[in-house]
C-alpha cells in the first residue's frame, strides 16, 4: 500500500506542473487547466488545497473497468480513435484516386467498410479505369449503406442530396486531372452530367426516385 501511495504522489507531482505550467508553451492551455482543476475537485481528487491520491486509484480502476465493459462515455472517447481511422482511410482513398491504385482503395475500404463516401470514391476510381461493372457494384454498395442510414431515421432526400453533391465533387476533381478526351474522361463526364441532372431534379421537386423506392 505504501508503494502505491508513493507512486501516486509521484504521479501527482509529475501531473500538476504539466497542467499548470503548460500555459507557457506555444499552445494556450489556460482553459484546460481550469477544466482539469474543476474536474479534479468534483471527482474528490483535490480537496482543501490538497490532492488526494486514494480517489485517484478508485478513478483509475473505475475507468479501466468502464473501458473494458464499453460504458457509454468510454465508447464516446474511443470514438476519437475511430475518427483517426476515418482520417487515415480518407487520406488513403485520396492517394488511391490520384495514383489509380485499387489496392490502396481496398485498404481504405477495409478500414471503414460501412462508409458510403469511400464506396463513392471507389466507384469513381473504377470509372477512371474504364470498368463500368465494378463502378456500378461500388455504387450499389453505396446505395445499400445509404438505405441502412435512412432506415435508422435519416431524411432520405437530404441524405441523397448530400451523396450526389459528394459524388459531383469527387468527379469534378477527377475530371480536372483528366487532360485528354479519351474514353476515361468521357465516362467521368457522363457520370458527372447524370449526377448534376439528378441533383437539379431533386432541387426542383424536393423528391427523388431513389427515395420513392
Amino acid at each position: 500500500m505504501k508503494k502505491i501511495t508513493r507512486n501516486l504522489l509521484l504521479i501527482l507531482i509529475m501531473l500538476i506542473p504539466v497542467f499548470f505550467l503548460s500555459g507557457c508553451e506555444d499552445v494556450d492551455w489556460d482553459l484546460l487547466e481550469i477544466f482539469v482543476q474543476a474536474w479534479a475537485e468534483e471527482e474528490g481528487l483535490y480537496k482543501d488545497g490538497k490532492y488526494s491520491p486514494y480517489p485517484m486509484v478508485q478513478k483509475v480502476a473505475e475507468d479501466t473497468v468502464g473501458d473494458i465493459t464499453h460504458k457509454k462515455p468510454f465508447i464516446e472517447l474511443d470514438g476519437l480513435d475511430v475518427m483517426r481511422d476515418m482520417e487515415k482511410a480518407d487520406a488513403l482513398a485520396e492517394e488511391a484516386l490520384i495514383s489509380g491504385d485499387h489496392n490502396k482503395m481496398g485498404v481504405a475500404i477495409n478500414m471503414r467498410p460501412n462508409d458510403w463516401q469511400l464506396q463513392e470514391k471507389d466507384a469513381v476510381l473504377w470509372l477512371n479505369s474504364e470498368n463500368s461493372a465494378a463502378a456500378q457494384n461500388a455504387q450499389d454498395k453505396s446505395d445499400e449503406l445509404l438505405r441502412e442510414q435512412i432506415q435508422q431515421g435519416k431524411n432520405c432526400v437530404s441524405l441523397h442530396i448530400q451523396r450526389l453533391e459528394f459524388r459531383n465533387d469527387v468527379l469534378k476533381r477527377e475530371l480536372y486531372t483528366c487532360k485528354d478526351s479519351n474514353d476515361q474522361c468521357k465516362n467521368l463526364e457522363e457520370a458527372q452530367f447524370t449526377t448534376q441532372q439528378e441533383l437539379q431534379e431533386i432541387y426542383a421537386t424536393n423528391t427523388s426516385p431513389f427515395c420513392d423506392n
Partner: protein, 203 residues
Amino acid sequence: MSETVQNPTPPKKKRGWCFCAGCLLIPVVSILCLVSVYFLGPPLANWLGIFGPEAKEVYEAAPDLAASESLTNTFSELGIPGVRVYVIPIKDQPTQGAFIILDASAGYVGMDPLDTEDDMLLLILQDITHRNRTENLRLAHVTVDYRDEFGETATAFTADQELVEEYADGLITQRGFFGQIKIDLIGTMQYLGIDGLLEEIQE
C-alpha cells in the same frame, strides 16, 4: 517407574516429482486462466452481448457532411484555426455524435488566443446548441480531442449534449459543467509518459 516411551516422529515421506509438478502446475494454470480471462473475456462478453458495442461499430457510418460543416463553421466564424469537426450517426439510434478535433499540428493555438477570458468556450457551446436546435442535428454528445503539435492526443473529454445545453443556457456554471464531463484520465496519463507507474497502480 514407568518408562515413558516417546513416540518417535514418523519419518518424513519423500515427496516425489509428482508433488513438485503439482506445485508448479497450480500457478501455471492460474496464470493461464487469468491471461485467457483478460484476452478472451472481453471479446466473449461482447459476442454474448454482455458488454456494450465497440466504438468502431457504433460510429461505422459515414459522417454527416452537412452537420460536420455547420459545426466546423462555429469555429471558423469565431476565427479559431486548426479545428475539424465530424458529426457521425450513432448506430441503431436516431442521434449523432459530434467529435471536435482541436489540432495544434494543424494550427490550433487555443480557445482564446487573443485574450484570456474564458467566454469563448461558452460562445462555442452556445453556437453548437443553437445549430443543434435550429438545424435539427440531433446531437447526443460532444467529444473533444486536444492534439499537440505532433498530432498526438494530449487529453480528451466527452459531455452529453444535455449537459452542454444546460451550460449554454446558463443553468449551470462553467465549474459545474467541467465537473460533470468525462475526461480520458488513463489516456491523459499515458500521454504524460507514466505508463509504467500507471500499470503498477492498476495491478
